[in-house]
């Protein structure tokens, strides 16, 4: 292992200090702006609204932009924060920041609760549940008069003191709001390039693949929504202090739509886009006063037009330019520890499948299949179309629940574990129809694989990046590290999937038809890659039609037909087995014999 290698400059992207200098400069700048702003009046109000709304909109970046789940209740979470601060300071005489802390916790807790209820299923459930929640909250704010003051709203909300600074003045308070905004932007910007943020984006781009990369899909979605609710609460809390008067209509469904439009227009992938979109939509309506009557209709139409013509928002152009300017990643990195990952020297059975059955209604896709993969071997599972190969791999990796049978991995019964826990146990896979994370770069895709729970580098951001680069070196895609994975050719996307699996140092890799859809040249290259993996002593279960490829790499072959195992043994025996030949080429015609 070379230790004298120059450190790649991309490591700055995972530095613990990233963004801090920029945030410090931004803080100084916004405080200066606040000091120059008037003490009260129209301009101050506009700035105050922009700052507090921007915080809430940045919350949407986390749930919608990063995690791909639609929340239409961001105004409701703002409302929780705002009413918490208002009622806490006015009726219960709490300190402003104590009230803010309580109300933000309530917002986050309710977010987590709604998330747990609705996120186990598809994204549209969250959309429906948040719309309902939004309506209910408005009903409660209007009707629970003894507690919320009802439709009249809450007046005379006090602004606080902080470290001896009197924030009751408009512009000092604005300074605090803007600083809070900068901190929230910093946190969300950093989130995008850390482990949790990558997990969210992986979930957004492909839930199935995220699960088989060791990501707890449900948990990640719930956390994303909780964070977004929390940030919404922060925005609302500062909003209440800023305007000193709040009422239920400020946190209605219509406002949630306004917040959503701000996020989509600016660009929901980036907190900067969110702030930009908020600024535009706070200032524009003031200029376009003639739209007052129809502004919500315009927002509605804008949402459709943005989705069709500007899916990444205005900030999408900036991100695109930055990706184009990204320098290639130079510098040597330690190679993949390929031999270390097989987990031992002996050739004992690693993956042991017994009597596995999967029935779809009356169709027996798998009907009592036994299969044992030994450490350090390349085991091929072959069979004609519809013989149950893909079903087999889907059951083994936890995407389907078996009708009967057991699966042991490293001696442990994994039959009832969810996909992400099987991956954490050391079982990685690729997909026949490629499942990469299209919204992420090649490097980020492979980093998701490297930081799976249970990998030796997981948790150390720098080591994860070095491991991902090493995996890219292995498949020869280092030069494309900063490209979006969707821009790569089909064959190269398949390499990204393999690199993603390798980076996680799995004990066993399941390759689902790695040569499917490749042209002749690509197939030859794939064969060479597989031979290199074999040469490193990896444990591989490969599924394929391509007999050429199987003959090149396999030590041991199992043949399936109609969901049953018809042959199993070393390569030479299986390929000359008459049953196998019959399954592939058809029965010889007896009358001709």
């Amino acid at each position: 292992m070379s230790t004298t290698a120059p450190t790649p400059h991309v490591l700055a992207q995972v530095s613990a200090w990233r963004g801090l200098p920029g945030a410090a400069i931004a803080m100084v700048a916004v405080v200066a702006v606040a000091m120059l702003a008037p003490d009260q009046g129209y301009i101050l109000n506009i700035l105050m609204q922009a700052a507090t709304y921007a915080i809430a909109v940045v919350g949407l970046v986390v749930v919608l932009g990063y995690c791909g789940q639609i929340s239409i209740a961001q105004a409701a979470f703002m409302g929780l924060g705002a009413y918490g601060v208002a009622l806490g300071t006015v009726d219960y005489h709490l300190n402003f920041f104590v009230a803010l802390g309580i109300s933000v916790s309530v917002a986050a807790a309710l977010g987590l609760l709604l998330g747990v209820a609705s996120l186990r299923l598809g994204g549209h459930y969250l959309a429906m549940v948040t719309i309902s929640f939004q309506q209910i909250l408005t009903l409660v704010l209007i009707n629970w008069i003894p507690f919320t003051h009802g439709p009249d709203g809450v007046r005379n909300i006090a602004r606080p003191m902080l470290f001896g600074i009197d924030l009751t003045r408009g512009n000092t308070y604005l300074g605090v709001c803007l600083c809070a905004m900068v901190l929230v932007v910093l946190a969300v910007w950093r989130l995008k390039t850390n482990r949790l943020g990558r997990a969210m984006q992986a979930v957004r781009d492909n839930e199935l693949a995220a699960g088989t990369c060791g990501i707890d899909v449900f948990g990640t979605k719930v956390v994303a929504f909780g964070i977004s609710a929390l940030i919404g609460g922060i925005g609302g809390g500062f909003f209440a202090g800023g305007f000193r008067y709040i009422s239920p209509d400020q946190f209605s469904f219509a406002e949630s739509i306004v917040l959503l439009t701000m996020a989509l227009l600016g660009g929901v992938q980036s907190p900067f886009g969110a702030v930009f979109g908020t600024g535009l939509l706070v200032i524009l309506p003031e200029w376009l006063r003639f739209l007052r009557q129809v502004y919500l209709a315009v927002y509605g139409a804008a949402v459709i037009l943005i989705m069709v013509f500007l899916p990444d928002g205005l900030w999408g152009f900036v991100d695109e330019q930055m990706r184009k300017r990204a320098r290639p990643v130079e510098g040597k990195v330690p190679p993949l520890p390929l031999l270390a990952q097989t987990g031992g020297e002996t050739d004992e059975v690693v993956l042991d499948v017994r009597g596995l059955a999967k029935h779809f209604g009356g169709l027996k896709a798998l009907d009592g299949v036994d299969l044992a993969v030994r450490r350090g071997t390349v085991h091929a599972l072959i069979g004609p179309n519809g013989s149950g190969k893909s079903t087999f791999i889907n059951v083994v990796t936890g995407l389907y629940t078996p009708t009967a049978g057991q699966i042991f991995f490293g001696g442990r019964d994994i039959t009832s574990l969810p996909p992400h826990q099987r991956n954490r146990a050391g079982l990685a896979r690729t997909f026949q129809n490629i499942r990469v994370f299209r919204g992420m770069t090649v490097l980020e895709n492979v980093m998701v694989g490297a930081e799976r729970v249970g990998n030796d580098v997981a948790g150390d951001a720098k080591a994860v990046m070095l491991r991902a680069l090493a995996a890219l070196d292995f498949v020869g895609l280092r030069k494309d590290a900063h490209r979006l994975v969707g821009q790569l050719s089909y064959g190269h996307q398949r390499y990204v999937e393999i690199a993603r699996a390798l980076a996680g140092s799995p004990q066993t890799i399941l390759l689902d038809e790695p040569a499917a859809g490749l042209n002749m040249t690509e197939k030859v290259e794939m064969g060479q890659l597989l031979l290199r993996l074999k040469g490193h002593g990896l444990t591989i279960l490969i599924i394929d039609h391509d007999m050429n490829l199987v003959e090149q790499v396999a030590d041991h072959i199992t043949v399936l037909n109609f969901g049953r195992r018809i042959a199993d043994g070393v390569k030479k025996d299986v390929l000359t087995n008459p049953d196998v030949i019959a399954a592939y080429l058809g029965e010889p015609r007896h009358e001709a014999a």
Binding site: I70, V129, Q135, L296, G300, V303, I304
Partner: protein, 289 residues
């Protein structure tokens, strides 16, 4: 009181069921989660109001016009929100239907103002008594029409070639198109039908709820909840979920609290999501690995 509430609940539940039905058909045919479903009902009701109150056309002409216009509108809606985004996955289409819903609601608000409109019922006779229950003629019409429509839909789907083609499209678009079924046409037909169903619901409910822009979100929300309660993607689930929701919220309003009437649907929805997320009939849609 109980029987009276049950009758009213079934009537309002039938409205939810009709809208939920339109919703579920779009999910099945085009995998579109349409957040503009409530607007179909609202626009249908407004079309009737315009025809009858403004142009003084006979009531039945108003009904036919509203349904026909709304069927055409369904196609236009598909063209704006679904067609340009159809190859970009579920999320962009969902967001664009949300945008469409906001746009439509507020355009009507701009053009028609915030005041709600009143319109007469189908029959002059307000209703009759059966024992302790007052059978309101409008509620009775709702239940009868909804039942007939469900029966008609069943007949079309199970007994006609068009129905078979629609079913094939919803089950496997690729296979359907290989068999020569014009899949795009089938999807447009589904949009038109879904929108017309919404219009019928809007027409039927118009005399009961005043016609206003607020009715769209109200009805859509209940229809969504009905779908989840019944089982996402399930047709009998949508009907049963709608009825159940109507009864529960009418009972809740009758026995517990009127201002929180709309909260009962939400509570029921949350309860189902916690305890039985697959709904009464089980989720019918899952991703293929």
């Amino acid at each position: 009181m109980f029987l009276q509430l049950l009758f009213t609940g079934f009537g309002i539940g039938a409205i939810y069921a009709l809208v939920a039905l339109g919703f579920v058909l779009l999910i099945r045919a085009a995998s579109v989660v349409n957040f503009g479903q409530g607007e179909f009902a609202m626009l249908g009701a407004y079309a009737l109001v315009i025809a009858v109150n403004m142009f003084h056309l006979p009531y039945w002409v108003g009904i036919v016009l509203s349904i026909v216009v709304m069927a055409g509108f369904g196609v236009a809606f598909a063209g704006a929100t679904y067609w340009p985004l159809r190859n970009r996955g579920g999320l962009p289409v969902i967001i664009s239907t949300i945008g469409a819903s906001i746009f439509l609601e507020n355009m009507v608000l701009v053009l028609y103002g915030p005041n709600s409109e009143q319109i007469d019922g189908l029959f002059d006779n307000p209703g009759f008594d059966i024992g302790p229950v007052f059978v309101d003629s409008q509620y009775l019409s709702i239940i009868v029409v909804a039942t007939l429509l469900v029966a008609l839909q069943y007949f079309i789907f199970e007994r006609t070639l068009l129905g078979k083609k629609l079913q094939a499209t919803s089950q496997d678009k690729e296979m359907a198109s290989l068999l020569g079924i014009p899949v795009a046409m089938m999807i447009l037909i589904t949009f038109a039908y879904s929108s017309a169903l919404g219009a019928v619901a809007g027409i039927l409910v118009a005399p009961i709820l005043f016609v206003s822009t607020g009715m769209a979100a109200l009805i859509a929300l209940k229809a969504f909840a009905a779908n989840i309660i019944g089982g996402y993607g399930s047709i009998p689930g949508a009907i049963l979920g709608g009825l159940a929701l109507g009864v529960v919220e009418t009972m809740g309003a009758g026995y517990i609290s009127v201002p929180y009437k709309d909260a009962f649907a939400f509570l029921m929805l949350l309860m189902f999501l916690m305890v039985r997320p697959q709904g009464l009939f089980g989720e019918k849609i899952s991703e293929k690995a």
